[in-house]
Symmetry: C2
Subunit: 126 residues, 2 copies
């Protein structure tokens, strides 16, 4: 059967049943958590759906790679770098980061910035 | 460069800049709209991110196919049929409909039921 990961949002904290939290805090990525909502564990052969949350003053790594990202913002407000352009985004904005585009997500605000980010299964990327 | 489809939610109506609305109302699918947020038009090679909204008493078609769905609920409350089980879902719930699983989304409530639904590019599905 399929999978339902029940949302357990409470006090503005987003969590899901049976989804673990991976934390990143390094010179490359600052104050970021990742939750894999749908991926190999759920039996998804073609794509991975993750939820990222960036705390105030945090950022994701400055990245450029052959796979693309499909993003939809769920919480707060932040900035996305796409190539050489930085764009402010907030709830509901849909963003496509194409293959091999330089990109980075930043939280320049005082509240957490959270978004769904879809990638293809990397085995399919040529 | 990448794409940002700016969210234009207003009065509980969800819309996005430069995204057209496709409406379905037939014997197969009732009171459903679809918006393709990220797909071929945006240059996405591997997956398609759509937003579906089902009006009260509407439903999507009873489907079973080789591609899977990754879903996250954004608005309202509804029911999803997964195989022979019907499950109530609401904001934030993440659902994976695996390949070849019978499924259907229904709105049995009085408010619209809206969700993001990701599929792979069907050319990649074997």
């Amino acid at each position: 059967m399929g999978t339902v990961h029940r949302f357990k949002g409470k006090d503005k904290k987003f969590n899901w049943e049976n989804v673990s939290i991976e934390s990143y805090d390094s010179s490359k990525m600052k104050r970021v958590t990742k939750r894999v909502l749908i991926g190999k564990k759920e039996g998804a052969p073609y794509f991975v759906m993750r939820y990222f949350e960036i705390e105030p003053k945090g950022w994701t790594s400055l990245d450029k790679h052959p796979h693309d990202h499909g993003v939809i913002v769920l919480k707060g407000k932040g900035k996305v770098l796409l190539g050489n352009e930085e764009i402010e985004v907030s709830f509901g904005d849909a963003i496509h980061v194409p293959p091999n585009e330089l990109h980075q997500f930043k939280n320049t605000e005082e509240e957490p910035f959270g978004f769904i980010c879809v990638i293809p299964n990397k085995e399919l990327v040529h």
